[in-house]
């Protein structure tokens, strides 16, 4: 289903949960709605479902305005954060609920329910009650139940939030595959950027009720359009005094410019390890954290602490050790503008001396 949202607003009293959100979603896409808690993601989802009425703005499905349609008539499936399974019904009855509402013949219902249970790997559980299932299984029942009436749009509110970290990744891949197979337009809300990046075709980032950016995960990672997006996606260090970083001195000309430096923009090595010696700064190792597959290094440069990674394959550092630090690029922003800047010295290595 093609979805369009125009100038959507929602306020609860004085609180603006959603302000002026507009976007379009193509048919069959899997969209991740990402942002910190309380950013208005769930409100957008609930308004799409018809569970909440927008204060202003339009919601269009297939070009038709659906603002005044109740949730029953929108043709959507909704998976709730806590699954909201019907406690007193068996798995079978839960999945069959939406089909019985449609007054379908019994054998058709049976066929559809059994095929969905097969699809979601719940075969043999049809007579169980929700309290007899694990979190992951409940999640899958909720999923099968939402899919049963063949909705045109699937909305998922923090679908993995209540599941163990270990099963979560497994379930993510499973969900992505399943949605691909069913070919249904889907939107899921999450506050976990890894989840959004891994699962979604496109990500929409929301903060304080505003839509900050919409694009593929790679786009958003590479070209963040706002400081919030830049700081929210990936790990990063904020540097207020950019003039102290070698190669970025000229950026300090603009008043109030702040830099955001990702760990992977920083190269760090023992004396002589980095080739572009002229662009490096002296730094001192402050702390080392073992991250399982690499070291997270905190290094002190001219009074600023930068964070970066170091491969386990390379020689390990010790706290207090003197090292060379090279900052390749930085994301700069001030009140008016934001842009990416490469290290000047790196682009033009020692032109005078040769």
């Amino acid at each position: 289903m093609h979805i369009e949202v125009r100038g959507l607003n929602k306020s609860f009293g004085d609180f603006h949960a959603v302000s002026d959100v507009s976007f379009e979603i193509e048919k069959g896409k899997l969209i991740g709605l990402l942002g910190p808690s309380g950013g208005g993601k769930t409100s957008v989802l609930r308004m799409l479902a018809g569970l909440e009425t927008p204060t202003s703005g339009d919601i269009l499905f297939h070009g038709k305005r659906v603002n005044d349609l109740p949730p029953q008539e929108r043709g959507i499936g909704f998976v709730f954060q806590n699954y909201a399974l019907f406690k007193h019904m068996t798995v079978y009855d839960n999945v069959a609920f939406g089909l019985k509402v449609k007054k379908q013949p019994k054998d058709r219902i049976r066929e559809r329910v059994m095929s969905l249970l097969e699809l979601t790997g719940l075969k043999g559980f049809e007579h169980r009650y929700p309290h007899q299932l694990s979190g992951g299984q409940r999640q899958r029942v909720a999923f099968a139940r939402a899919l049963a009436p063949e909705p045109q749009l699937l909305l998922l509110d923090e679908p993995f939030a209540a599941i163990d970290a270990k099963i979560r990744t497994e379930l993510r891949t499973w969900l992505k595959e399943l949605i691909d197979r069913v070919g249904i337009t889907s939107i899921f809300v999450t506050h976990d950027q890894d989840e959004a990046i891994e699962v979604a075709d496109e990500i929409m980032i929301m903060n304080k009720g505003r839509l900050e950016q919409k694009g593929t995960p790679w786009d958003i990672y590479k070209n963040p359009e706002t400081p919030f997006v830049a700081s929210f996606i990936g790990e990063s260090t904020i540097v207020h005094d950019i003039g102290r970083i070698k190669g970025f001195e000229e950026a300090a000309v603009w008043e109030g410019t702040t830099a955001l430096i990702r760990p992977e923009y920083i190269e760090i090595g023992k004396a002589g390890e980095i080739r572009l010696q002229s662009a490096t700064m002296e730094g001192r190792i402050r702390q080392l954290h073992f991250r399982g597959s690499e070291w997270l290094v905190e290094v002190d440069v001219n009074g600023t602490t930068l964070k970066t990674y170091r491969s386990l394959e390379k020689e390990a550092f010790h706290p207090g050790e003197e090292v060379s630090v090279l900052v390749h690029r930085a994301y700069l922003f001030n009140e008016r503008d934001s842009w990416m800047m490469e290290n000047r010295l790196k682009e033009d290595p020692m032109p005078i001396h040769i």
Binding site: A49, Q72, E73, A84, F86, G98, K102
Partner: protein, 271 residues
């Protein structure tokens, strides 16, 4: 170590105190009733129970208690629902009024009904003209039972309703279910254990009601004489064995109901 020893002694003390309390206040009197009713053997027991006035009193009590309980189930479900689900002026006041019957002495309840519906009152006169007898007839007894047992269903339903997750209803809506269908298929089944256990408690309380009923029933043997008043009468006429015989019928019924309530609630918590 010391703390653990202390806590063990404490727990032993508490447990024995509670057991003693239970035995003295509940087990002994109940056993006494059973012993008393069979004190002259099985034959006199059967005679006391098969006395037409006795079994008519028991049957009348059962019938009226069933009527009161059914009314209570309907009213209690409605009031519980409204008090939990809707916000409106006066809600808190109504909610606290619900407990009134628990707080009032039942004799006061009887007097209240007598003043309100009895001879000389506005309602009494009006009903009399319409050819309906209230006080000293069965309707008054039902009203008294209804009044006394009013809070049971409401107080049993309210926590269940509060516990229902709003998203369960919303899920039903997104699956295409109408409001009515959502109520009967999703909400009502969750309320049902509360309605049933509340109704059971209301029923056994209605069976036992004395204070409110004795003032307004008229106590005509075979007509408006309920079991509890019959027991009182037997004691007054110095026939403790007959009183005990009818008592154990009520007692056994109450036990059965208590057991059913426990069973219903046990099934609920198991889920």
């Amino acid at each position: 170590m010391n703390v653990r020893l202390n806590s063990r002694w404490w727990s032993f003390g508490f447990r024995s105190a509670i057991m003693l309390y239970f035995v003295i206040l509940i087990v002994l009197p109940i056993t006494g009733i059973y012993v008393q009713s069979f004190s002259l053997g099985l034959r006199p027991f059967w005679d006391s129970v098969s006395n037409p006035l006795a079994w008519k009193a028991v049957l009348l009590t059962l019938k009226l208690a069933v009527i009161a309980t059914i009314l209570n189930m309907a009213l209690g479900t409605m009031v519980g629902w409204v008090l939990v689900r809707y916000r409106f002026p006066g809600r808190r006041l109504l909610n606290s009024l619900v407990d009134l019957p628990f707080a009032l002495p039942t004799a006061v309840t009887g007097l209240m009904i007598l003043l309100l519906l009895g001879p000389g009152s506005f309602v009494g006169e009006w009903a009399g003209k319409a050819g309906i007898d209230i006080v000293f007839h069965e309707p008054a007894i039902v009203i008294a039972m209804l009044f006394v047992t009013f809070p049971f269903v409401i107080r049993a339903v309210q926590p269940l309703l509060e516990e229902i997750d709003a998203s369960e209803e919303e899920a039903a809506y997104t699956l295409g279910a109408s409001k009515a269908r959502t109520f009967f298929r999703v909400i009502f089944p969750s309320m049902l254990p509360g309605i049933l256990s509340g109704a059971m408690l209301a029923f056994s309380r209605a069976l036992a009601e004395f204070g409110a009923v004795v003032l307004i029933a008229g106590n005509i043997p075979g007509k408006t004489l309920v079991a509890s008043v019959y027991i009182f009468g037997e004691i007054e006429s110095d026939n403790p064995q007959g009183a005990a015989a009818v008592s154990i019928i009520l007692l056994t019924l109450s036990f059965a109901i208590l057991w059913i309530v426990n069973y219903v609630q046990g099934r609920r918590t198991n889920r």
